[in-house]
């Protein structure tokens, strides 16, 4: 190996260090300790597996080693028929690498094992030794092990394994410097472990017996009664559900309450940037593109970033405590009758912020059919982009009655969940026939979560969201803006008449009001004559049974790209202003009238729209992510078709029932 440098000066050497280990051994925390914040998450090409990758300089006394650190997915064995096991095995063989890295046999293998669960963890060490790579073994969580009365002799372990062994704690930082130094001295073990599974198990038992201190044999290890009590409470049929509901309520309360503050900042910031750009770019197509297309579109997406980041941060903290594994079993009981497993918990929970990270989180579901069902169901969960639409419609339905608004709001969430469960039930009986796979899940020890790891994960997820959804939404916003802005219409005669009238009036207020009436008329006219407006006219007959006129049809059509566009599209069409923060604008949408003078948002159409927006697949980026994660556009098309069908039928039923009951 080129690392055995004889020179005394610092030699830069580049090599790959693969970090391998069981799930829940603190591997990522240790990785973050070594790599700091410079890591990024990359996919393994052709799979949904991902790894964190960091380019770091590991400083030792004699040399500075430029290293590529790869945090592999946590696995129990290299030989399981699971995508994560295969990916790890391929990386060790040098046949696969995260996107952007060159596939090569790693120069060093860092195997992280859990000191509190040494024997089982030794199995993967045995499998690693068979790879004949320079190896270092980090025995992590040594602090927790010591508290439990577990003593491990590192020298004996190093002797048994034939490679350097470091006792460390990623949480406290203990032993990490020594580990970095040892990484430079990694060598191929001169020992070998058996290759068959039974042999490895016996070998692990022997090694364990040799390295654990004999003083612990008598009286056994301190039994963790607290863990036992907490586990029984958190998985209890009643107590478990109650604590689950309490924790989730707290989580959502924080997501909605705390995120509101940065969301307001973002809103203000984009508003002022829009204003600044608007005043610095001369009027014309580029001005409109920048202000109405780019800034409004990107702003409309970025505004959800605080909620998404907060969700991931809190979820990471919750996962760090060890609670999520217990919660998965609680939710498993509820989901199993509908054909999903407890593994769907995190994806469905995340989908309440945004379906995109939710669908991406479905990667962790081991069974393929379970995973597909979860992906197809995820967009039914009410994401934050639906909130502006829910707010508008519930306000229109129950003006000045906040309690009823709240009921209607809750009903929307419940309806989404119910539709999701129904969908899963249906698909698991037809195209994804079969029962969900029963869960077997390690229940990690309860711990104080690592803030740094949670923060880094949040940063990462936030960036992925911005890149994935941001680029897409940007493109869609530009296209939508173009469709809505072109072709330009000449000022109408009616508007010209108003303007002429305004000119002859002396009273400034009155003439101002006439001018704005004229502008509003022109705006509505050009909205009607734009490509989008014409599309609305063409598609209106399809939506007529749901009670939608041309303008609502345009709003719905525009929403196919992203549903939150509905409110601003309606504002542009009916009010001639897209400043929806203004209460008066919301009112003008609520009381907007059709071309023939009747109200657009009647009781019937509002309910119909509410059902439609809960159930319809109105988000292009979600479809793209579904196609990618489910492995084909047919799944995205199925999702689109099924959600549209369900939305159309429900909205139709709601409207027709209200009409029949004599409502308007």
């Amino acid at each position: 190996m080129s690392t055995s440098s004889t020179e005394s000066h610092i030699v830069p050497i580049q090599r790959t260090i693969a970090v391998l280990g069981n799930p829940n051994v603190g591997k990522t925390t240790l990785f973050n300790r070594i790599a700091g914040i410079r890591a990024k998450t990359s996919n393994f090409p052709g799979t949904t597996q991902e790894a964190r990758v960091a380019h770091v300089k590991l400083k030792t006394k004699r040399e500075e080693i430029e290293s590529v650190l790869i945090d592999l997915p946590g696995i129990y064995s290299l030989h399981l028929d699971l995508s994560e096991s295969k990916v790890c095995a391929q990386v060790l063989d040098g046949t696969s690498a995260p996107a952007g890295e060159q596939a090569q046999v790693p120069g060093t293998l860092l195997v992280v094992i859990d000191a509190t669960n040494l024997m089982r963890n030794l199995a993967i060490v045995g499998e690693s030794l068979a790879k004949r790579l320079p190896t270092v073994v980090a025995v992590n969580m040594i602090d927790a092990a010591q508290r439990r009365g577990i003593h491990i002799d590192p020298n004996k372990l190093a002797e048994c394994l034939g490679c350097p062994v470091v006792l460390c704690s990623a949480r406290t930082g203990e032993g990490v410097d020594e580990l970095i130094a040892k990484l430079a001295q990694a060598k191929v073990s001169d020992r070998s472990a058996p290759t068959d599974q039974a042999g490895i198990e016996r070998w692990a038992e022997d090694v364990y017996a040799a390295v654990s201190m004999p003083s612990d044999e008598h009286g056994g290890f301190r039994d963790d009664t607290l863990t036992d009590r907490l586990d029984r409470a958190f998985t209890h049929p009643i107590l478990g559900v109650l604590s689950f509901v309490a924790i989730m309520t707290g989580l959502f309360w924080m997501i909605f309450k705390l995120a509101a503050i940065p969301m307001d900042w973002i809103d203000l910031w984009f508003g002022s940037v829009g204003g600044w750009v608007g005043s610095h770019i001369p009027q014309g197509a580029i001005h409109d593109l920048m202000v109405d297309g780019v800034i409004a579109g990107v702003g409309g997406t970025v505004i959800f970033l605080p909620q998404i980041c907060l969700l991931f941060f809190l979820l990471a903290l919750l996962e760090g405590t060890g609670y999520l594994a217990r919660a998965a079993f609680v939710i498993d009981r509820a989901l199993r009758p509908f054909g999903m497993s407890g593994h769907a918990f995190v994806p469905l929970l995340s989908s309440h912020a945004c379906a995109i990270p939710g669908i991406m989180a479905a990667r962790a579901i081991p069974d393929k059919r379970d995973r597909l069902a979860t992906i197809l169901v995820a967009p039914f969960m009410s994401c934050t982009a639906r909130i502006p639409v829910y707010v508008l419609l519930t306000t229109i339905l129950f003006p000045e009655r906040p309690l009823f608004q709240a009921y209607a709001f809750t009903m929307c969430y419940a309806l989404g969940i119910a539709a999701g469960l129904f969908t899963s039930l249906l698909f698991r009986r037809t195209i994804l026939r079969g029962k969900s796979r029963p869960m077997a899940l390690e229940l990690p020890s309860y711990r104080i979560p690592d803030l740094k790891s949670a923060f880094l994960l949040t940063l990462d997820r936030g960036m992925i969201f911005l890149k994935k959804a941001g680029t897409m939404i940007l493109a869609i916003s530009i296209v939508l803006w173009w469709l809505g802005a072109y072709p330009h219409s000449a000022p109408t005669d009616a508007a010209d008449d108003l303007r002429a009238q305004a000119e002859s009036i002396v009273d400034a207020d009155e003439s101002e009001s006439l001018y704005s009436q004229a502008d509003s008329l022109d705006m509505r006219n050009s909205a009607a004559n734009s490509f989008l407006g014409r599309l609305g006219t063409a598609f209106q007959p399809i939506f007529a049974p749901l009670g939608y006129d041309r303008q609502l049809t345009v709003g719905v059509l525009a929403s196919f790209a992203a549903r939150e566009v509905f409110v601003s599209t309606m504002a542009v069409q009916v009010a001639g202003s897209d400043d929806v923060d203004d209460d008066s604008v919301l009112d003008s949408i609520a009381y907007a009238t059709n071309d023939d003078g009747s109200r657009i948002f009647t009781y019937g159409t509002s309910w119909s729209l509410l059902f439609f927006y809960v159930l319809a697949s109105l988000c292009l980026p979600t479809l793209v992510v579904t196609a990618k994660e489910a492995g084909g556009w047919k799944w995205a098309m199925l999702q689109l078709g099924w959600m549209s069908l369900l939305a159309y039928v429900s909205a139709f039923a709601a409207y027709q029932i209200i009409i029949m009951a004599g409502g308007t």
Binding site: N117, R120, G220, R232, F329, L441
Partner: protein, 97 residues
């Protein structure tokens, strides 16, 4: 373990019982898992291998077992009842501990 009653003690020496037949606090040694190959190898990799000694911490949905003794006592695994019922265990007789 001390919680075993004499009835199960007699059975323990003669035959394998599903994990779900244990009572809370009882321990035993795994003989085999009677599920499909994928599940079996997954469980085995998680530590539920033949001859491993385990203790039942919670019976129900889910069952919680603790891999103990040689394993350091730090490993708890939650199992859907359906899986747990396929894990065949030989009960420890009370003198073994």
């Amino acid at each position: 373990m001390m919680h075993t009653d004499t009835q199960t003690d007699i059975e323990a020496n003669t035959k394998a019982v599903p994990l779900t037949k244990l009572t809370r606090g009882q321990s035993g040694r795994i003989l085999c898992t009677e599920s499909d190959a994928d599940d079996s190898s997954m469980l085995r990799a998680m530590g539920l291998r033949p001859d491993a000694s385990i203790q039942l911490c919670r019976l129900g949905e889910p069952c919680i077992v603790s891999l103990m003794g040689a394993c350091g006592g730090g490993c708890r695994i939650g199992l859907a009842k359906d899986i747990a019922s396929r894990v065949m265990v030989q009960l420890d007789d009370s003198s073994a501990h």
